[in-house]
Subunit: 443 residues, 2 copies
């Protein structure tokens, strides 16, 4: 059986009552974290520009854009909300693939449900299934896919959006695998473009075009049976021989959402160990940044590929080993403002970044960092962090996630509305339809 068929049957047959409370809870944590991140950047020009452009061609105003006080058609709303949720890379991360699972999937499910009157539980179910397929397909082509230049959240996100939309539409197994196959023909997004706004376009399209795939499949459009794994199909065109067992084994028993993580810092996930290590070393050494002569950060190939870079703008800062280390030692914190232009241009941070070197240590696991600080007086200290706060082994608590949501809401200009927004999202599973919730999130 082709993997698309296996996935289609799994998705179509899945029942909400068979989803455990723990999975529901993790799904809600993912969605809550995503919406908070979107609210936090409601005033960012990257988001308001995406909204402005979508308005040029948007259709019936059925679906809310978070924090913008407007509705667009469902696909256009999903495009903007996906961009917003992921803009700062502050959203959730599936560490095995470095996929941000929620951004392409939650906006699609929420936008369609708002338009058509589906319930909060239906949204959560569609979300869990979409994230599952998205991450499993990502597993099957990782790590080569990303290393080759594919922005995996954009490329795999379309599968997630297609599946979530298909589930809400009630597509049967065959229609669902056609939706997945149609999503394969729309899969795009480049690592080269990550430091630019073109990144956002790949993301927004994952949500928008995944929905289109399901809409077309609903009306009878089909895809090739082996669209994913065929000799001229998605995985191999992209350079990968897919590990199909990663897609199909344990479907419905082992869930990828259980391996989702949330970030305390708005930086690339692989930089969190760097930040935690530098924060701890600063505490341990008890010296001002001027006393530190040099810092060496060791990590795996992904950390170096992504993070050993010049910092010229905010996007660079969020994926910089040097900036992450500088924040830990100089500012002793790494919040949203610490990655914005004033911080990028801060002479103290720039001077410290120049002291930082990155080195490959292939023996370190993905997501870990070993930081060695050498003092001007000759002392040195080394710390290895492999389970930073927010990692799978050291997760953020519900209280911490709620605090992050409120912090984001405040940054976005919704300090007063934040608690109400949080309450509304926490009540998602009980919502019989999304109108009231989305009205609150409109801001």
């Amino acid at each position: 059986m082709f993997v698309g068929q296996t996935l289609g049957e799994f998705v179509a047959a899945s029942r909400w009552q068979d989803i455990s409370p723990a999975l529901r809870q993790e799904g809600l944590r993912s969605i809550l974290n995503h919406i908070g991140c979107a609210l936090g950047v409601a005033q960012d020009p990257a988001v308001t520009t995406a909204l402005k452009v979508m308005r040029l061609t948007a259709g019936p105003a059925t679906s809310t854009v978070f924090g913008q006080g407007v509705k667009l058609d469902a696909m256009s709303a999903a495009f903007v909300n996906c961009i917003a949720g992921n803009l700062l890379d502050y959203d959730d991360t599936h560490l095995q693939t470095v996929i941000h699972p929620s951004a392409p999937v939650a906006p699609a499910a929420l936008a369609l449900a708002e338009q058509r009157g589906f319930s909060g539980a239906q949204v959560m179910h569609a979300f869990l299934l979409g994230a599952e397929v998205e991450c499993r397909i990502g597993n099957a082509v990782s790590p080569g896919h990303y290393a080759r230049g594919w922005h995996i959240t954009s490329t795999c996100g379309g599968f997630g959006s297609a599946v979530a939309t298909a589930k809400l539409l009630g597509l049967n197994a065959e229609q669902t695998w056609h939706a997945i196959g149609i999503a394969a023909s729309q899969s795009a997004g480049l690592v080269e473009n990550l430091p630019s706004a073109a990144k956002n376009v790949g993301m927004g399209n994952a949500a928008r075009n995944g929905m289109l795939a399901a809409f077309l499949a609903e009306q009878g459009y089909q895809a090739a049976p082996a669209a994913i794994e065929g000799p001229l199909g998605w995985a191999r065109a992209m350079g990968d021989t897919p590990n199909l067992a990663e897609i199909t084994e344990g479907l419905g028993t082992r869930w990828e959402i259980a391996r989702n993580t949330y970030k305390p810092y708005p930086a690339g996930i692989v930089f969190h160990a760097v930040i935690d290590a530098c924060l701890a070393l600063r505490e341990q050494l008890g010296v001002p940044p001027e006393a530190i002569a040099s810092v060496e950060v060791a990590g795996d190939q992904l950390l170096l590929d992504r993070g050993d870079r010049q910092v010229r703008n905010e996007r660079d800062a969020r994926v910089s080993i040097h900036h992450s280390a500088a924040l830990g030692f100089v500012r002793a914190r790494a919040g949203v403002a610490d990655f914005e232009m004033p911080a990028v241009a801060d002479p103290a941070l720039a001077a410290f970044r120049a002291k930082v070197t990155a080195r490959l240590d292939a023996s370190l696991p993905r997501g870990a960092a070993r930081v060695t600080a050498r003092l001007a007086d000759g002392r040195q200290a080394t710390l290895t962090v492999s389970a930073p706060v927010g990692s799978i082994d050291n997760p953020m608590s519900d209280a911490a996630l709620d605090a992050k949501f409120l912090d984001n809401a405040g940054i976005g200009g919704f300090a007063a509305q934040g608690p109400g927004m949080l309450r509304a999202v926490r009540g998602l599973e009980q919502a019989t339809e999304l109108g009231p919730l989305m009205a609150v999130l409109a801001g």
Copy 2:
């Protein structure tokens, strides 16, 4: 200089008065041929379904869908018109890349021009520039790109649509290269999906998302400088080391549109030599199909990769060596009806297809075929065709193109309106705005 910058400067600086009459003429032939093909499939479910789905989310009704009597927003109209123009692979072909240049580019330019009041000459200029960039980027990654599984018209078509849209919007050089880079992050489409409707989605997205790239660049969205050629950029992610000289050398002096070709048969371009050879051998041998024991078709790797296949549906038939040969010998023609389901299911054609074998002859040039027919009585005849009708060395005349347009209009249900439609398109360069032309083409 990055290739995106070179292209952006070329496009922004290009002036209509510097475009030769011969190039203008070839551009018009391309657009005319494209519109005729779109009209011919106006009643095809693949087109009416795409229209139905686009209507779910379409915005202001500004831009005509050929032969459907309706308007959609510009991006949605371009999506449907692109699908229609290319549906049967009966449109134009740039043989070096096997790109169908017009389908993603002409609909974008026409839809935007209709909405915003641009002239026919502006459309032709934008079209020529879009097709140029599309084909040059295709040249830079051919033939590996297609062979690896990338549907090159879909993947490169987005660049063409982005450039045509950028030119009409009057973007400057820098905005234009950002549009090209944003298009890179949206580039998708799989060969594996060609025998299914998912192919249409890749095509429609090329037109639709290329426009989005330009709209976003107009509002300040940017892309990475090396989005095309960077180490983690478009070409290398897709598996190619691009030949950048193919993109930049002779810009403005050597034009790819001068190498565009048009099809007398609604089959993949590489099958035209097969059809011509079989038509000629049938004439030469003067025997009924039952007298032929076997047919061997030799061609290059592309011909075999695309065409050595089982024929189960219309899409298969249009890319089948076996069906092409059977039409030549059994029906002595290869018109639109000869690739439709009644022909696919015709026992006489099915029986003849079973007599046909395909063989690699790597010494044959792209687009050529050597056909050997063996008779039951022991006689055999061989014919090699390397310049079939419609090829660059044996082009369709203007009269033949006009006749094809009228034939298509009739198939689409516009026999009476066909001559008026043809006149309107032939007058494109003189049109001060597109309203009247598009009203005629609405059908």
